[in-house]
Symmetry: C2
Subunit: 227 residues, 2 copies
């Protein structure tokens, strides 16, 4: 049992209880530790994590803002139940936003940033040839790429939206997308083409390829959902 209170005296871990709780609860929801539709009781979570209800409430309210739980007044909150319709809606939004980010990345990337992108993808390609490649891909590589493109796009609000507010929700739906064999390989190839378009400062092509890349992921998601 890892109560937060026990670790609280570590000076390096000075984050607020609410933030730690939000991270842990988010992770638990994405990983399925809390079943979709199950109720989250404030007193129970408070006891479980060794804190009072105050921080738990604040963390839950943030989960609510991020659409990871649904809340009915005076009836508590329940873990969101992901539906294929939600997935379609979210990936449609993500398609235009990531496309926008890629376009701006092509317009704004410095030579050093393009070098960083290529270095990162080279690392991903190497990692993909090893065992446990899928785990690595799902856990870090995919996010790394999209994070970096969003950052290079130099729109702070867009970055916050893609890599902050919506990040966990996207991850929740991606997690349901059991990796079909070869999907990671294909995704990496798509990443590489996007980076080349950015390196060419071809904003229009960068946006097109990124949108196609997201649409491809969306198709995999929907097909699986209806299968």
């Amino acid at each position: 049992m890892s109560t937060l209170a026990d670790e609280k005296h570590d000076p390096a871990d000075d984050r607020l209880l609410t933030d730690q709780l939000f991270d842990q609860l988010s992770e638990a929801i994405v990983m399925g530790t809390f079943a979709p539709g199950s109720k989250l009781s404030e007193p129970r979570l408070a006891a479980q994590y060794g804190v009072s209800r105050g921080p738990v409430r604040e963390a839950i309210r943030r989960l609510e803002e991020r659409k990871l739980v649904t809340s009915a007044p005076r009836q508590g909150v329940r873990v969101v139940v992901p539906t294929p319709e939600d997935a379609l809606e979210l990936f449609t939004i993500r398609e235009v936003l990531e496309g926008l980010a890629a376009r701006h990345a092509a317009d704004n990337a410095t030579d050093a940033e393009i070098e960083d992108l290529r270095t990162m993808l080279a690392g991903h390609r190497q990692a993909l040839s090893k065992p446990d490649a899928m785990v690595y891909w799902q856990a870090t590589a995919n996010s790394d790429f999209h994070f970096m493109v969003a950052r290079i796009g130099r729109n702070q609000h867009l970055f916050d939206l893609l890599c902050g507010e919506y990040y966990t929700l996207f991850r929740l739906y991606r997690m349901r997308h059991r990796i079909v064999p070869g999907r990671a390989q294909r995704a990496l190839a798509e990443h590489e083409r996007i980076v080349e378009a950015i390196a060419d400062r071809d904003a229009e092509l960068s946006e097109l390829l990124m949108r196609r890349h997201i649409a491809s992921a969306r198709t995999g998601l929907i097909n699986q959902a209806t299968a």
Copy 2:
């Protein structure tokens, strides 16, 4: 002094204190009652509205999620200071999202919904010919149109984003955009052309016109900011 506690026993007003506070604080920020950059003290607000710090904290945390205040740990929160850069970023995001909504509206609108759109615009046109037209426009007409298009688009997450999470922030920046003479007239004409494109089920044109419409508003905003 309108404390919330006094009105609490009205059975019709059963909303949670946090929600009421969030609305009132949002409004105060948009209207400039709280100056940009000024600090929001929890005890002071609690006393002012006649409630305890709990609901005030939750309302403030929601303001933070919505980017209406910035927060530094253990230093409280300050009302966001709108910059031209922020405005540009936000309207760039809004452009692709509203364009997406318009495209989907054209794909999904029923005959009845198109009739509703036309009826609404007819009302707006009539209202614009009367005195106080600007106030009416800024307060309701503009939002009405964008709300309805987003709703007809039938993407619940997109609707929530445009008409919920980002609504007040967009309003904050629009409020700084003192209405240039004739802007409301021109905006209404643009709305009318968008509705005709939707009525023709021309998704591509609907998206194009909506994006141009937002871009036009953005240009006005930026020009004024740099003036």
